[in-house]
């Protein structure tokens, strides 16, 4: 079996640039070294939650030191309190629901122990690796695979299984991407301060892609692949640790924690998907929900909640015990639509508006909306028309939804709703 490491790409590169010998910027050496050291580091760090205090400690330090900048979004007062708590040991003083799941005795505290210098070296290398793997010059699917291979340390076989492709296909994808990195001269370097916001966006998009890939219910024998979601969360902790004080990272982490906490309740024993209202709430991971909600508390002071933040707030509302606050969810979807308009956001907003008691307004939100090859839009329209007592139109909408629906449980559901009115 071929040795699967970054090295082979640079062996190829070395053939292409024989005159250069060890290049002025010995990227090859850096890559190999960085990869090995990063991998060692990851293997030593099995407990992800351990990263959370680090992430918060750094954010808190930023906020109380600078009083401005990204860290300040976390609220200086709260942050200072957290910082003090951390100084006094991990177990105490975290407050705000974050204490849950972060119990004392998870090893040395952040910055404790003898590995300070080693840690910052490795952190720099991992940051460089992270941004190189998420370089905009790489294809989106290649970025995700590279992240899992070289930052998360999964094997090619594991990544192939997770993305439902054969191992040779995944190996070829990784080889192509590595060759592009070497031949095109993608630098092993964190971006400049000016480029950082945009580049961090790409990193976070890659993480969310990895996460949602785990929940894609369109293919494969398993409806959800929690391992992918686990990896995405693990990587988000890492990004939060390496680039502390970035509200977007915390928001994405909160969103993923809140969604992932429902994993055990999302699939029925026969393998079909269970929608939120029908889920057995006792099977949710309430410690993880508390952790996600705690992160959202930290972000409370953010003046302009971003896309991930709004989605996380919506997920947090759904995770609360009933009754659901539909007016608040409708409001959050309206905000989300303002920030990132899409037909699916509009559709969700319409459902929330209807649940909040205004089916008429909900129906008018669907005017002019088009979602191709999906039964969801006519299905929602049919439900709204039913509520409004417009039965003939509702029947037509149910019929339209039935021509588009693809899975059997959903078809049965629509047929039942169509007749039982």
């Amino acid at each position: 079996m071929a040795e699967d490491s970054l090295q082979d790409a640079f062996v190829a590169a070395a053939r292409v640039w024989p005159e250069q010998g060890v290049p002025e910027r010995p990227a090859a050496w850096l890559w190999t070294t960085a990869y090995r050291r990063a991998l060692d580091r990851i293997r030593r760090e099995e407990a992800d939650a351990r990263r959370l205090p680090l992430l918060i400690a750094d954010s808190a330090a930023d906020a109380s030191r600078a009083g401005a900048g990204p860290g300040a979004d976390l609220g200086a007062g709260r942050a200072a309190g957290l910082g003090a708590g951390l100084d006094g040991g991990l177990g105490a003083g975290l407050g705000g629901g974050l204490g849950a799941g972060l119990g004392a005795g998870r090893g040395a505290g952040p910055g404790g122990g003898s590995s300070d210098d080693d840690y910052s070296d490795v952190a720099d290398e991992r940051l460089r690796l992270l941004f190189a793997c998420c370089h905009p010059a790489l294809r989106a699917d290649a970025r995700a695979a590279l992240m899992l291979r070289f930052v998360a340390g999964l094997t090619t076989a594991e990544i192939a299984r997770l993305f439902l492709v054969s191992e040779p296909t995944m190996a070829a994808r990784l080889t192509r991407a590595k060759a592009k990195m070497a031949v095109a001269g993608i630098p092993l370097r964190a971006p400049s301060a000016a480029d950082l916001p945009e580049r961090l966006d790409v990193v976070l998009r890659v993480l969310y892609l990895i996460f949602t890939e785990g929940y894609r219910a369109t293919a494969g024998p398993d409806l959800i692949r929690p391992r992918l979601a686990d990896e995405a969360i693990r990587l988000a902790y890492l990004v939060g640790e390496l680039l502390p004080g970035e509200p977007r990272t915390l928001a994405l982490l909160a969103l993923m924690l809140l969604q992932h906490a429902r994993r055990d309740a999302r699939v029925a024993p026969d393998g079909t998907l269970i929608l939120l209202p029908e889920q057995d709430r006792s099977r949710w991971r309430h410690d993880e929900i508390a952790r996600g909600a705690g992160l959202l508390d930290l972000l409370e002071a953010a003046p302009m909640p971003g896309e991930y933040h709004l989605q996380a707030l919506i997920a947090a509302e759904h995770a609360k015990p009933p009754p659901t606050d539909w007016p608040r969810i409708a409001h959050l979807y309206a905000e989300l639509e303002r920030r990132a308009p899409s037909p699916m956001v509009r559709l969700n907003r319409s459902v929330a508006v209807a649940e909040a008691g205004s089916p008429e307004a909900a129906l008018s939100l669907l005017d002019g909306l088009a979602i191709r090859d999906s039964h969801l839009l006519p299905a929602v329209r049919a439900e709204l028309l039913t509520r409004l007592g417009r039965h003939d139109e509702a029947t037509k909408a149910f019929d339209e939804a039935l021509t588009l629906v693809r899975t059997n449980p959903e078809r049965q559901h629509l047929l039942r709703r169509r007749t039982e009115r």
Binding site: E24, H135, G185, I186, P187
Partner: protein, 118 residues
């Protein structure tokens, strides 16, 4: 590393420019080249190319040579010229490419052949 910046554009749009627009574009390229020289990033060899309609394509299939009028690929966007630059890495090359006053720029690494003198 050496990179080629391949400039693509719609030839109809290029041809429809009036004299003043052509002059302005010429001056923008002049400033771009001055910037490259100042950084020591400009390599010799870059050129503007005449319209794709003036191209002739030779196809050599081993036992037969065919000659046809026009460019290899008949697409709306054609290559209109290229620069050769020296940049430490792709990020630096992309930063330079973004300053080029053209709508589409393909950044392509150049293969080094030391025995041929590059």
């Amino acid at each position: 590393m050496h990179y080629a910046l391949l400039i693509y554009g719609n030839e109809k749009a290029w041809e429809s420019r009036d004299e003043r627009e052509k002059q302005e574009n010429h001056e923008r390229h002049g400033r771009f080249m001055a910037m490259l020289r100042e950084r020591g990033a400009l390599l010799p060899g870059g050129q503007e190319l005449a319209a794709a309609g003036t191209a002739t394509t030779v196809r050599n299939s081993g036992d037969a040579v065919g000659t046809t009028d026009g460019p290899y690929a008949e697409t709306a966007e054609q290559i209109g010229g290229f620069y050769l630059i020296d940049a430490p890495d792709l990020d630096a090359a992309l930063e330079i490419a973004r300053q080029l006053p053209e709508p589409i720029v393909e950044v392509r690494p150049v293969v080094m052949h030391p025995e041929m003198g590059n």
